[in-house]
């Protein structure tokens, strides 16, 4: 069900996301002080190559990671297999990537 290649992709993206998650949690804790606003978020991220990189890598990693995770859960708990399972994995991955890329673009260079 899960090839060794997918197993490694899952672990590598996980390791990659450890510093990103910590960073993101820190930003959350920092940013919610005194409430959130669109202007505040955009003020931090707009035109910033650094935030673009940070969240860009995050989105790619999470898309791969979540797609493989969803694949395992859907196979084991829903019983989906074969081509249907591949389709679910790819839709999850590509869907998350598309939505995530759109969001990152929106808060940085759009």
């Amino acid at each position: 069900m899960l090839s060794v290649r997918l197993y490694f992709l899952q672990r590598i993206t996980a390791l990659l996301m450890v510093p990103l998650v910590l960073g993101h949690l820190a930003v959350i804790v920092y940013a919610v002080q005194g409430g959130l606003s669109a202007a505040e978020i955009l003020g931090r991220t707009r035109e910033s190559a650094l935030w673009f990189m940070f969240y860009g890598i995050f989105v790619v990693a999470v898309s791969v990671h979540a797609a493989i995770g969803v694949r395992a859960v859907v196979h084991e708990w829903v019983g989906l297999k074969g081509a249907a399972l591949e389709v679910v994995m790819w839709i999850t991955g590509l869907g998350l990537f598309a939505l995530g890329a759109r969001a990152v673009w929106a808060v940085t260079f759009a």
Partner: protein, 242 residues
């Protein structure tokens, strides 16, 4: 204690998965679950099918679900598992039921073979006996897992097996790990290929039910982790190679 009786529910058969038959069995001191099943077969319902052989935890044939937990029935005292006055006994999980409490162990053993759980010899009877260093780290790893008697308790306990029919399961993978660490076994590449295939060790989610329920207190979960490490190493060696 002899005057008391136990309320025993037997979950019978594949065709009648929901068939629950209740029996009242006289309670005794030092009574095992296997004693209870045997009493029912001998005194209440001779049509009840079940499997046992040695009665002392050596043969691995009497495992059943006892109150939802896989156990050797011969080494499980009733007093240890009784819920109030009741006990529920069913056929082992994750294997096809043949009849009543008897499951078909074929898939379990087929996976044992699929994981290369057999000796890969390289010597002939003409060769001198290869020395085994009892203190080497590899031998200690192998020793930790070789007492497995194939009772399938770990296989029945594993939810990954339940959801992923291709998964080789804890017992087969643990045997592969002992062979990988066996100085006399020369099947390293065959084993690594077998345990990293479709149903390989990478499917394990380390939930540890195998280790939690192994009646011999073996640790298949750590053995599988060992296989994951070796698979990882050989994967990166192969990547570097090409």
């Amino acid at each position: 204690m002899t005057s008391k009786s136990l309320k025993v529910t037997i979950e019978r058969g594949a065709a009648a998965k929901s068939a629950q038959h209740v029996f009242h069995v006289p309670a005794h001191e030092s009574q095992t679950v296997l004693d209870v099943v045997s009493w029912i077969q001998q005194y209440a319902d001779p049509t009840l099918s079940y499997r046992f052989a040695c009665r002392v935890g050596m043969c691995g044939s009497c495992a059943m679900m006892v109150n939802g937990v896989p156990r050797w029935t011969c080494r499980t005292h009733v007093s240890k598992v009784l819920e109030g006055n009741a006990i529920t006994i069913g056929p082992l999980r994750n294997l096809p039921t043949i009849k009543d409490l008897v499951v078909d162990m074929d898939p379990f053993f087929e996976k044992w073979i699929a994981a290369e759980g057999m000796h890969h010899g390289g010597l002939t009877r003409e060769d001198p006996i290869a020395p085994v260093d009892e203190k080497s780290a590899a031998r200690l790893e192998a020793n930790a897992g070789i007492e497995c008697i194939n009772c399938s308790v770990c296989y029945a306990a594993c939810d990954t097996v339940a959801g992923n029919p291709e998964y080789l399961g804890p017992a087969a993978l643990q045997r592969a790990w002992t062979l990988l660490n066996d100085a006399k076994d020369e099947g390293r590449n065959a084993i690594l290929d077998a345990v990293s295939g479709k149903g390989g060790c990478q499917n394990c989610h380390s939930m540890g039910s195998c280790t939690a329920y192994c009646p011999y207190e073996l640790d298949p979960m750590s053995a599988i982790a060992g296989l994951k490490r070796e698979t990882t190493k050989s994967f990166f060696n192969r990547v570097r190679g090409c």
